[in-house]
Symmetry: C2
Subunit: 199 residues, 2 copies
């Protein structure tokens, strides 16, 4: 966010105290239930100061996650266009982020999520509220099916990231992005809009 000049409330530790309080709140209560008011109270600051430093709750969450990219900037390109191509577009965008310098932060986040329950909860909240919810709300899907569809998409994308960037299994590790888009896109498409079991 843009720096503001003028009044600089809080002390140098305030920003970190807010982020620490935010991580705890988002991990414990989830993104939806966590409130700026409670986060501010735990950090011992005024809620207005949280908004001053971080803007919206979404922005605070991204800062708390140390997310290398903002899904809100990327997802319009996934959502726009033919609904039958959303699977391929999601894989292409996902690989575009991970094939960039952001992948270092992504691998660090995956490593932490695997060994640390709180990071795992934050990653879960991030995937659900910042990515899948935004994609799914643009598709004509029975709301009762959204959670299963969304989490199936997550299994394939996280597994793709694990094998390409962490475990480095060939040929997935070195494959051209478009090869993976063509191979994995239809999987994502089916999880999003295809026939699924009702069980």
């Amino acid at each position: 966010m843009a720096r503001r000049t003028g009044r600089r409330p809080g002390n140098p530790g305030t920003r970190e105290a807010i982020l620490s309080s935010a991580r705890a709140a988002f991990a414990e209560r989830g993104f939806d239930a966590a409130s700026i008011r409670t986060i501010a109270a735990t950090a011992g600051v005024d809620p207005a100061l949280v908004h001053h430093y971080f803007g919206s709750k979404d922005q605070l969450f991204l800062a708390a996650m140390q997310a290398p990219v903002d899904p809100r900037e990327l997802l319009p390109g996934v959502i726009a266009g033919d609904p039958d191509g959303i699977g391929e577009r999601l894989v292409r965008t996902f690989l575009g982020v991970w094939d960039s310098p952001a992948s270092t932060a992504g691998v660090a986040l995956l490593r932490s999520a695997v060994s640390n329950e709180w990071t795992a909860r934050l990653l879960r909240e991030f995937v659900v509220t910042q990515v899948l919810r935004r994609v799914l709300e643009h598709l004509d899907i029975d709301p009762a099916e959204l959670p299963l569809r969304g989490s199936l998409v997550a299994t394939q994308l996280v597994g793709l990231a694990m094998m390409r960037y962490v475990i480095r299994l060939e040929p997935v590790a070195s494959a051209a992005p478009e090869t993976l888009v063509a191979a994995v896109g239809p999987t994502i498409q089916r999880y999003l809009t295809g026939e699924l079991p009702t069980g």
Copy 2:
């Protein structure tokens, strides 16, 4: 393996020395290139002693991986039967292992692979040589396509394990196994036998 009575060569540290040497060899050279002879030499023992303690190279690898299950016992049930059902049978068998007490060892292995390059290499070798190779050799597939097909299967199965057992994303974390078999089985089937990009 069966315990033998009588001669007990080696000292109490011998078994661990062989396993340590085996882990290094399998991680550095891969399963196929690693030899019992070299592993024995590094551990300072006779190759016959390696066979005495661990049996075959396959068995030594499973011991070095601390693999909670032996794929050779499970895979015949996956391979037997209608080739069009192999995707569902592979997912069902995979979930059967992970929904058992073996999942503790599986989660530990995933955690280690994510943070440790050597464990990642061992896991990669395990997936390729002990699981995928055995499944794929029973299908009528162009050998040139095996590596891509196998590694795509690995992305989906590792992602499923990550989300169900490590990150615990709902509803995948609590879904009935047969729900996931029906949802993910066709993905595996397509990766194994369907049309894939040639790029």
